[in-house]
Symmetry: C2
Subunit: 331 residues, 2 copies
Amino acid sequence: MKKLLDDPSQAVTDSLRGFGLAHADQVSVHHDPNYVVRAGGTPPGQVAVVSGGGSGHEPLHAGFVGAGMLDAAVPGEVFTSPTPDQVLAAVQAADGGAGVLLIVKNYTGDVLNFETAAELAEAEDIETTSVLVNDDVAVEDSLYTAGRRGVAGTLFVEKVAGAAAARGDSLAQVTALAERAASAVRSMGVALTACTVPHVGKPSFDLGEDEVEIGIGIHGEPGRHRVTASGASDITRRLVDSVLDDIELAEGARVLLFVNGMGGTPASELYVVYGIARQMLVDHGAQVERSLVGSYVTSLEMQGVSVTVAVLDDELIELWDAPVRTPALTW
Amino acid sequence: MKKLLDDPSQAVTDSLRGFGLAHADQVSVHHDPNYVVRAGGTPPGQVAVVSGGGSGHEPLHAGFVGAGMLDAAVPGEVFTSPTPDQVLAAVQAADGGAGVLLIVKNYTGDVLNFETAAELAEAEDIETTSVLVNDDVAVEDSLYTAGRRGVAGTLFVEKVAGAAAARGDSLAQVTALAERAASAVRSMGVALTACTVPHVGKPSFDLGEDEVEIGIGIHGEPGRHRVTASGASDITRRLVDSVLDDIELAEGARVLLFVNGMGGTPASELYVVYGIARQMLVDHGAQVERSLVGSYVTSLEMQGVSVTVAVLDDELIELWDAPVRTPALTW
């Protein structure tokens, strides 16, 4: 295993330390337990939006802490849910007096630990709500999941919720919009290579020289099937078709198309996939109103891509377009 | 070779097509020959800043086209200089009537082809200047270079020049500032893995299971030596020491620290390197005033990192901080 790490057991903490120093104008990193909050904290009276999960998916979630998106992020160990105490500490630090929305990717450990943290927070009179993200259409149940997995669509939910909180919406309103965003978004991914968890030291799975895994999870969990690699058009078609099979797209529907790299994929290839996926959506009668291309919800150094489609309406577009200023997403 | 491409010989054009569609609000992509200009063009009367070079280093250069940075970018084939005709077409499209600065990475083909293009442009009464970037301290001459290579420091030169042009500086002033930025910046990189050029179909070089190449070029050209991989601290120390051996850093010097991923490196590892490099600079008496961490000047899917240090003064800080709005860099 070749990685730019020292002690693999300290990888998350070492990385967070560098992250905090590099972005001290936007975030504040706390250790024991690890969590990240906005520099200066949540503006008083504003709903706080908090998310988190296992590390290894950077820049998700800590890279989205800042004005207009998350007020705190809780990074667990690599591919491991954060503990309830860790989530509670982040909730306490982020609470601005108007309640806290927890955005939780649908993995069994995350769901349980965020629920426990929410109960502990309620006992301290911090009002919380939570929204589950389960956008991955690939498989119903999976290695770490009852029901669908939460993957790249999480970014969309976090952006919408953060923008709603920033404009002064109440906790109920922010929660309802996050639910609407979560209902509107679907994703499907493919892996060209596996990734290696630092403290494990060997690849999470084996793929043949010419094989790709269609429907891969962001922890390398099995997808739908393996096929022989066959070029960008064939692979993209499989992803987009699966998403379209699952989502109701009226003629003329306005959509966000988000092409996400898994960590080790060159930007140039993401744009090739984007071009193909966009044409498929147009041929399907959709209007691609907004786009995002980049490696935002990753699996360490895995090579691969996911395609996310979100159905937009005027309010979701307004919230997507609202200013955001975080280490990994700014406009 | 597994890549998200269709026809490898069309990789650059296919990728540019997707890029143009995804960022139509910021850039306009032209084909035959390929070049990228700002949507809406260079503001009349403003100096145009144009750069380019072989593809495979995305988001460099096309990702930096937009307000406050580049007015045009000229992407050659993968790891291949753009042709003089291509550069000339971009210069003609970008010229806003106040002259054009060409920012050229020091590779023999790039230098020759940009020179020829500049002569052709002068014949059409477009005034041009050019600035050479040669920030790589690893080796004096290299596979494609007489003298030092231009690598990640190019981003710094492009940002400074673009900001100077945006505030209305003359061609002579923009050129002088770009020269100052180029003189102030040094870089050194390391590869953990090789990359595969699409139309070649096999890795550019072989590295042993535990080997890393110290001083790698951004085309996989040989560096200084190969060593056994030994953790982030040892590797980072080798890079930063080489940069510090080459640059005059007065006690209290203000610097930009830019940790750049080579394309296949997880963000989490870049931040580990950043934390170590920053501490080394602080121990050396420098003040890290500005920071950038991300995969901006890449070598396809290569795993590795480069460390860039630029010595700042008040004016360079002002130009670095000036607003920028491009597909890959926004603040």
